[in-house]
Symmetry: C2
Subunit: 376 residues, 2 copies
């Protein structure tokens, strides 16, 4: 993996660059659509490429490990071959899902035992086997196994958890460096900064993680319920410590305004289920602001969903039609809204990139944050 | 509307022709995907056109009338403008849904009162207002308001119901002929033959319906649970009576084998929810036979869904991936399976047409019926 930083904004920490993987180049800042179980919900692979213009997608290790399982993914030659997405893929480490989805789980120094949400079967994730699993899934970017603390979180718990995450990282790196890619293309490991919302812990963690000198770094444990200001404060603090010549990935963030703010703080990569999950409930992010398409207001609005955004679904289908589909629980409603929202997210980070390159990011960001945050 | 019969099969009653509407030409025999609430479930409008190669789709009057309602459809300029499908549309009369979906309904000579399945509100359909409603929806082909009898059905009830359907047809024709298209393109009315599975009633009804001399004729009240042999017997009997220079539409039929058999009996038009409904449950109709993709058998099958069929979804996605999506209840599973099944149905009637034109329909049909009926 290669990261080239091409532009730095003079009035903020925003930057534009590119990440080169064996599955293609990613232009940063970038948003990564979430394909939990090997499918970005309600979106065809060709739509990801042609309509949304996704450059990298996510897979969730927890889900893929449980179903369809590693045997079939391995037999296919990795997730790219299994689901047909031939661009870069990043997999999370499964930690987050184990903590949030799995009913009963036990966290010990060695690893985490948990119960499958599908059939109740018992499994164990350790730093070592999570590396092996992600090797087998075949992600281009593999995430370290960490503990994502909840919010709020006691200081002592946050510190001890962070320290264990660092020890786990040691084990992740060791296993990752001892093993090889199974499918002939390069894979890279990103460690994750933790430390809840405590500045001293975040500082400690960022320094520890930076010292590992991996090819990219991530910030976890944010966007878990804390106020946005806390998220920005932690992100800013951590970005100042993480090396500037490596990509920085802020996990699980967020709203369009969150993304713009965190780009300004120096983040290069984002992922979030918000554009797809909210789409299925009828919340649209548009170039003019936020639309709850379920509202009476849109009942007779025969205008296209978002003519400014462009693209098939946003210009072809009307707001009134989409409202009807969402109210009628028609699958096509979820399809249209998901493609629209993801197209918007990719457009937004693409615009940010253009303005960083053009040198007017700060002004643009201020104006755009207001626009995309307003409720229409 | 214009119907041109171009070829007749010498060894069966199969025929090839074309129906010209103001929204385009339909090559018969044809299968019409069902778009109940103005959307063919899980399928984008461009996929209907480019992938499935649909030539005409259905809308359900009952559903569209209740939601989104006539005001917004009228304001849009009709259903074509509302949902963006610019090819021909046929709407059913709402009768079938009123009998099968609506909890409490009262059938009287004047019409039917029923309760909305959405909000319990009370409504009345009469032969007259159902014509007005379909005028307003803007279908190219409008169906007469009939009573679709259940199976089994007492002879006396079937006869009395059929007689009422004929009297209702009188009223439908009167209202239809007194009114005009609202959107500048021509609309046409198809009457419906009833009579349950009683040959004498079917004969009476076919003669009565033929005497109205409309531009096309339909056969209703079949595919409601009767044995396939009864369906074929009734269809054959009715086709022999209905004029050969008008298109014949067999409502709600059916499996690929049913369709091939009824093409041989002289049917030109079909519709059925089977390809889309069964798709959502993982049943695939393929050029090699029927696949239940949920079965263990397909777990490791990395072959494309149906390479012989061609097209994006059937060649791009593997059986193992589709099985995973259906098991995981991923929306994309419903999308892939729906496009595949509809593509197959359109391919099947297209092949039938080619073989009718080539003169070897009977031989082809015999072989193909076996192939498409076998379980893989």
């Amino acid at each position: 993996m290669k990261f080239d930083l091409s532009h730095k904004d003079s009035k903020s920490s925003a930057r534009a660059g590119s990440i080169t993987t064996d599955h293609g180049v990613i232009q940063t800042p970038i948003f990564m659509p979430v394909g939990t179980a090997g499918s970005v919900k309600a979106v065809h692979q060709r739509e990801l490429k042609d309509d949304i213009k996704a450059q990298i997608i996510l897979g969730n290790t927890y889900h893929l490990y449980l179903r369809p399982g590693l045997d079939i993914i391995g037999e296919a030659g990795g997730l790219h071959k299994f689901n047909g997405w031939d661009g870069p893929i990043l997999t999370d480490s499964g930690g987050y899902q184990v903590y949030s989805l799995s009913g009963t789980r036990k966290i010990k120094e060695d690893g985490v035992t948990f119960m499958s949400h599908i059939d109740g079967s018992r499994h164990t994730f350790t730093p070592e086997n999570v590396m092996d699993i992600q090797r087998r899934i075949g992600a281009d970017i593999i995430m370290a196994f960490d503990e994502c603390t909840p919010y709020p979180c006691e200081y002592t718990y946050a510190r001890e958890s962070m320290e264990m995450t660092h020890r786990w990282l040691d084990r992740c790196c060791k296993r990752f460096d001892e093993t090889e890619s199974l499918y002939g293309y390069q894979q890279t490991l990103f460690p994750i900064v933790q430390g809840s919302v405590y500045p001293d812990l975040r500082k400690q963690s960022a320094e520890a993680i930076a010292a590992f000198g991996r090819e990219g770094n991530a910030i976890g444990g944010l966007s878990v319920g804390e106020p946005a200001e806390k998220m920005y404060e932690m992100t800013s603090l951590v970005c100042d410590i993480l090396p500037s010549d490596k990509p920085r990935y802020l996990m699980g963030v967020g709203t369009p305004a969150n993304i713009l703010e965190c780009i300004a703080l120096g983040i290069d990569m984002f992922d979030c289920v918000m554009p797809t999950r909210n789409a299925r409930n009828g919340m649209l992010f548009t170039t003019q602001g936020i639309i709850n398409i379920r509202n009476e207001k849109w009942k007779n609005d025969l205008n296209p969903i978002d003519p400014e955004l462009g693209g098939y679904v946003s210009t072809f289908y009307s707001r009134a039609y989409l409202r009807h589909l969402i109210h009628s629980k028609e699958i096509l409603g979820a399809q249209i809204a998901s493609i629209h929202n993801l197209t918007f997210y990719l457009w937004l980070v693409g615009q940010a990139r253009e303005h960083i390159i053009a040198g007017d990011f700060a002004i643009w960001k201020e104006k755009m944050t207001k626009t995309v945050s307003q409720r229409l």
